[in-house]
């Protein structure tokens, strides 16, 4: 039977891609094989369009890093203790069905962590929506937060941070990113390799249904057409099953009878069977009749593409499978042997005795790479040359400050944070609301801090500098709580890469991030690319969101942003320039998103951060806070609000809301008793008052 073009086009494959498949396997694919290629070669799974550039990101830094392809990566934070982390996007599903989209986003990233044998210890959720006065944005925001709360709270993994940003370009395509962090003994990190001929291949967790078919290949790998009904492509989350799956998988790994384990996210059985086989230089022979399913009558291609949640594929040691199966049954979960590992590198899929797919695993797991053209967008020159010296000074600075503090991009995120259990597991030393969250590692002196940061506006105005500013801010957030930045995960949210101006944004951001990571000595240990974040009307700002983990030598030596007591001296670290480009002030008070983002001198930035870190570690700083959105004015106000004290600062030169990087605010413990009544008259210092 000859394939009709309709068949591959409906699966999201271009004609050229189909031809490529025929060329590679030397024949027409079967319908099941075609479905498998469509998911495995999609941008969502195989990164064919972004891979060439991702190679620029550094894999090594000052801490021992573990970087392995698309799995979670990590850093060793204490002898024998590795922290694994990764960030992912669930943008398209969340725009279509915000509650389940956000919920299953949490579930998916958590599986990435415990599949490697790590206990998930924290989640962070950077979220971006349209302007809050849009009813759709308010609906999406409310339901996404509820979805995260529903799933994360039930799992017992604390949500310790994230971001909330509201900007028009995200109105048709919200960004729902989620970062998960896990802890594991370094020598116990599990692999996802299938090795050992004859070893049983076991599917565990939920049964397989028709939900989420095409979620990765179609929903996440193409632009949004707003009128299309795509709800059925969104998966449904069951956090209770996931909680049991976490416990059962970690218990099974403890036995030593597990050879390899991989989570089924996008592309379900296709992805796990083919990638585990390819990673282990082996093959698999599986029988779809054995797969537990939710409904009768499912076709082989549906079973292979289903994205039903809370499932894992496991390869066990031959002869010890009963031991493994017993653990999953104890937790009330399905666990069924569906096939065996083979030695010839071929992935064979059978259904009712019929061979429905026979492909070399490595071929399937290795999509072709596309080198896409990049072209500077038209707007770039215009915003770069914008003259901001003509922006009028506001008459009423107090009104400007009040307005900035009321901005949903700056105001406290308590409404969302209180819906997240941020304390469970009793490790949360510094809760959401500070520059970064701080977690203790029970039984160790060391602790970790973690933050997520993005700034789509800066990256839109200058993608290269913008990406560097994002990393600099994330690192600043960490040193403010007393942590040494150690490793990065990135979630790269962009528009349609097939449009050269969008791809240019992506390219410049990745280059900027690569250069800044090298300068800071930080490895990018894991990441995710989300393209096609656009509707026919708008594309999102280029928005790389970074999750950065830092290490505290002694978790008790940490800092928070609130001023601690009247009389302490306030010190401003770094330089202040007239950097108004892309500021929240320029947008709110003058309705403009233009100009150049703040200039960044990476060497000076590193020095400012080193000084701040040392002051916190040596106990000289009573508080520390980063100047970011809203600039110095907002940073001072936030430190006052957190600490319930006031501050006297001088206004020379003007304490404008320039959001210059490299600036940190710090109240020193070494206060002079008189300073409350004699505020220091310098732009770089002031004093807290009661």
């Amino acid at each position: 039977m000859a394939m009709e073009p309709q068949m591959w086009r409906e699966l999201g494959l271009a004609d050229a891609e189909y031809q490529r498949i025929v060329d590679v396997i030397g024949r027409e694919p079967s319908p099941t094989e075609l479905a498998m290629f469509s998911v495995e070669w999609s941008e969502h799974c195989g990164y064919p369009r972004s891979r060439p550039l991702l190679g620029l990101l550094p894999k090594e830094g000052k801490y021992a890093a573990r970087v392995k392809g698309e799995d979670a990566g990590g850093i060793e934070v204490a002898p024998g203790i590795t922290i694994l982390f990764k960030m992912e996007s669930h943008n398209h599903p969340s725009q279509v069905e915000p509650f389940q989209g956000a919920a299953t986003g949490v579930g998916g990233i958590i599986r990435d962590i415990f599949t490697m044998g790590a206990r998930p210890i924290a989640v962070l959720d950077p979220l971006r929506f349209g302007e809050l006065d849009e009813p759709l944005a308010r609906y999406l925001f409310r339901r996404v937060v509820e979805g995260i709360s529903f799933y994360g709270n039930c799992l017992g993994v604390p949500t310790v941070g994230g971001e909330l940003r509201f900007e028009a370009p995200y109105g048709g395509n919200c960004l729902v990113n989620v970062m998960a962090i896990g802890i594991v003994e370094t020598d116990k990190v599990a692999t996802s390799r299938a090795v050992g001929e004859g070893n049983p291949v076991i599917i565990v967790g939920n049964s397989t249904g028709r939900d989420g078919i095409g979620g990765a290949s179609i929903l996440a790998s193409h632009e949004f057409a707003e009128d299309e009904e795509k709800r059925p492509t969104v998966q449904i989350g069951d956090p209770f099953t996931e909680k049991c799956l976490i416990e059962a998988c970690l218990e099974a790994l403890e036995t030593g009878a597990v050879i390899g384990l991989k989570d089924m996210g996008a592309a379900g059985i296709t992805c796990t069977t083919c990638e585990m086989s390819a990673a282990g230089d082996h093959g698999m022979d599986i029988d779809l009749q054995k797969v537990p399913r939710r409904e009768p009558g499912m076709e082989p291609w549906e079973l292979m593409m289903s994205e039903s949640q809370e499932r894992m594929l496991l390869v066990a040691q031959k002869g010890r499978e009963d031991e493994v199966l017993g653990i999953f049954r104890k937790w009330g979960l399905n666990a069924v042997t569906i096939g065996r590992v083979t030695g010839d590198g071929m992935l064979r899929v059978r259904d009712n005795g019929e061979l429905v797919a026979e492909l070399e695993a490595k071929t399937l797991a290795d999509p072709p790479v596309y080198h896409l053209p990049a072209e500077e967008p038209d707007y770039y020159r215009e915003v770069q040359s914008a003259d901001l010296s003509q922006v009028p000074l506001p008459n009423d600075m107090n009104a400007v400050l009040r307005d900035l503090l009321a901005s949903p991009n700056i105001a406290a995120a308590a409404w969302a944070c209180h819906q997240y259990d941020h304390m469970v597991q009793t490790n949360t030393v510094v809760a959401p609301g500070a520059d970064a969250a701080v977690l203790q590692l029970k039984g160790h002196r060391q602790g970790i801090a973690v933050t997520t940061d993005g700034n789509g506006r800066y990256c839109y105005l200058d993608p290269y500098v913008g990406a560097q500013l994002v990393l600099a801010e994330a690192a600043r957030n960490l040193v403010c709580v007393g942590a040494d930045p150690a490793g990065v995960t990135d979630c790269l949210n962009f528009g349609n890469p097939e449009k050269p101006d969008r791809f240019w944004q992506f390219k410049r951001c990745v280059e900027g991030l690569a250069d800044a990571s090298r300068a800071f000595g930080l490895p990018v240990v894991s990441g995710n690319v989300s393209f096609y974040n656009e509707t026919p009307n708008t594309a999102v700002y280029p928005t790389p969101v970074l999750g950065v983990v830092g290490v505290l030598d002694d978790v008790r030596r940490h800092c928070t942003p609130g001023f601690k007591r009247a009389g302490d001296v306030i010190i401003l670290l770094g330089e202040t320039h007239e950097d108004l480009g892309g500021t929240e002030y320029l947008k709110r008070s003058h309705g403009q998103v233009t100009g150049r983002p703040p200039t960044l001198d990476l060497e000076r930035e590193k020095k400012v951060q080193a000084a701040c870190l040392r002051a916190v570690r040596e106990g000289l700083a009573a508080s520390a806070h980063d100047c970011s959105d809203g600039g110095l004015a907002v940073a001072l106000a936030e430190s006052c609000i957190h600490g319930r004290v006031g501050a006297n600062v001088a206004r020379r030169p003007p304490a404008s809301s320039s959001q210059h990087p490299r600036r940190m605010l710090r109240a020193s413990r070494r206060s002079r008793p008189t300073s409350a009544r004699q505020p220091l008259c310098s732009a770089k210092s002031g004093a807290t008052t009661s």
Binding site: N153, C154, P239, F240, C244, H418, D421, V424, T426, V429
Partner: protein
């Protein structure tokens, strides 16, 4: 019965329980007390002096919080244990299970705000003649966090009157100054009720999490007072 300082704690683990390890760490690391887990299918509670039903989402909170867990095999043994005077503490989901099992009166409804709420709250100590509060002062204000979506305690007027008359209301949500105002009530709970005990005072349920504030590095150590009361 063991002497107070030798209390052997048992923490029940249902599928979906997620504050079991927190309670274990609080008791083991924080208080140096002997403590073991009890799988929900176990029915032998020999050797335990205090059973804790910890927080979490037993059976995913499906159907209704605590509604499925009360049918777990361990609950028969737990009921017998309590009937014989054994110490039984339900925290958060554990409190919800105690209500569903009929070991304490009343029921939990969805928070009035219709959302999950996780934050520190203030609690006023209303009864100090229980094994869980005897190290506290009556009227003292404790800072202990809550984390729940269904903590809106409800009972009919006769039951609440009974609770009041028998001094079974152990904790009430309050303002920092101890006033039990409506603003200080995080979930709409009737009469600001945060924790109650049975008439015999050996069974207590509370929505706030003392195990989350046993180590001062976590922001408060007021939860220790519950363990101090038990171990003192």
């Amino acid at each position: 019965m063991a002497t107070a300082t030798e209390l052997h704690f048992g923490i029940v683990v249902f599928p979906g329980t997620n504050c079991d390890t927190d309670a274990w760490h609080a008791l083991h690391d924080g208080m140096g007390a002997p403590v073991d887990y009890i799988w929900h299918e176990d029915t032998d509670l020999t050797g335990f002096d205090c059973i804790i039903l910890p927080g979490g989402f037993s059976y995913g909170d499906y159907l209704r919080t605590g509604a499925v867990a009360r049918f777990s095999p361990v609950m028969g043994a737990v009921t017998d244990f309590a009937a014989k005077g054994g110490l039984l503490l339900g925290i958060c989901n554990g409190f919800q299970i105690l209500l569903e099992a009929g070991l304490l009166p009343g029921a939990m409804m969805r928070n009035v705000g219709q959302t999950f709420v996780c934050k520190y709250v203030n609690l006023r100590v209303e009864a100090t003649d229980t094994p869980y509060t005897r190290a506290m002062e009556k009227g003292a204000v404790l800072r202990i966090p809550i984390a729940h979506g269904e903590g809106n305690y409800y009972a009919d007027e006769a039951t609440v009157e009974d609770l009041r008359r028998n001094h079974q209301i152990v904790f009430r949500y309050c303002a920092p100054d101890g006033q039990t105002t409506a603003e200080a009530n995080p979930n709409g709970s009737l009469d600001n009720i945060a924790g109650i005990c049975n008439r015999e005072r050996n069974v207590m349920g509370m929505m706030p999490h003392p195990e989350r504030c046993t180590d001062p590095i976590l922001g408060s150590a007021d939860g220790r007072l519950v363990w101090d009361s038990l171990l003192g």
